[in-house]
Symmetry: C2
Subunit: 218 residues, 2 copies
Amino acid sequence: MELLEGLATTRAIRRYLPDPVPEADLATILWHATRAPTGSNRQSYRFVVLRDTELGRRAKALLGDAFRSSWNDKRRQGGFDEGSGRDPSSPKARAAAAMQYYVDRLEQVPVIILPCLVRYREANPYEGASIYPTCQNLLLAARALGYGGVLTMWHQGVETELRSLLGIPASAAISATITLGVPQGHHGPVRRRPLVDVVADGHWESSASWAVEPGAGS
Amino acid sequence: MELLEGLATTRAIRRYLPDPVPEADLATILWHATRAPTGSNRQSYRFVVLRDTELGRRAKALLGDAFRSSWNDKRRQGGFDEGSGRDPSSPKARAAAAMQYYVDRLEQVPVIILPCLVRYREANPYEGASIYPTCQNLLLAARALGYGGVLTMWHQGVETELRSLLGIPASAAISATITLGVPQGHHGPVRRRPLVDVVADGHWESSASWAVEPGAGS
């Protein structure tokens, strides 16, 4: 797969086949993840890999409860069952069904990875520059090997219990929960805002007339 | 270029040829950047692109001062001129020389991009999940098109002046400064810790014997 194609078509995958992810593939995925940059090349992180072990199953059960609870809240607050959401064929209802399917089967996700940033300074809003590029490389490398995944923050509801179960020290931030497996569906184009809406040409208020979709002409 | 090869060999590029980056390439790079995921697909960001305009030159001059000042501090605190750093051929001295070259020519960098996260909640250590994956895609897409760059946080010394000059509102975090251009040198392998040091198998304290370099055998 070409690099640009990989960037353009790696989307969130939330439905997985039961197939396991072999250790060699996990190593390849994590190795490519860690090629991403970190501040001063500190690489101050640790990736906790949860699989089908006793401890892994207990952690997944904790996460499953947290994910279902977070999604329940979001489903209600986001009005997923109101308006167009009442029509099961609407985009809103289908998004809700996909998310419900995901959280209901969290315990069956083949691999869950917790990327943890080992803090060397006070927590701050910019520390993610040293962990989230690695997470993106992880998802892209997974894609290259035929897997798919998604990055979520829904572990936060059970973070205390998760730390205790897995021995994650207070000095490390659990920066994300990434679920991973062989996709049931397909990767493909993603939905995004028009580029011109998010590019500023030299000044915040200046729109960039050249910020058009590649291949859209000029 | 293959996706995995791109992930493995995109390294920080700090020396650029004077060649400009055409608008069509900038659009392609930013388009691929914005294929990265954001929380709830909000895409609540804006990319301020600084080029060779009057305002762009003023912003680059501000950034140049901040970068030189930050590097001076780091050079001193990091002991770059002590120990092995006294030998100009040592890795430490060469790293220092490369950084000095970079900050001394910041005003000549062809393109500087400020990825800004438009906050929809209080600043927090996890908000980077919605901007730094995009930054990593940006650097990878640049690589695919023959460019190189590096993500830094050294704008922070002049953030107030920069916001005022470029009209960046308080509601938006300046999440990074990315410099971009045609590399003088080459991309290639990056220096990283052994994978086994950063992977935990099921529990924080459990090392993963399978976390070996791809192709290293088992």
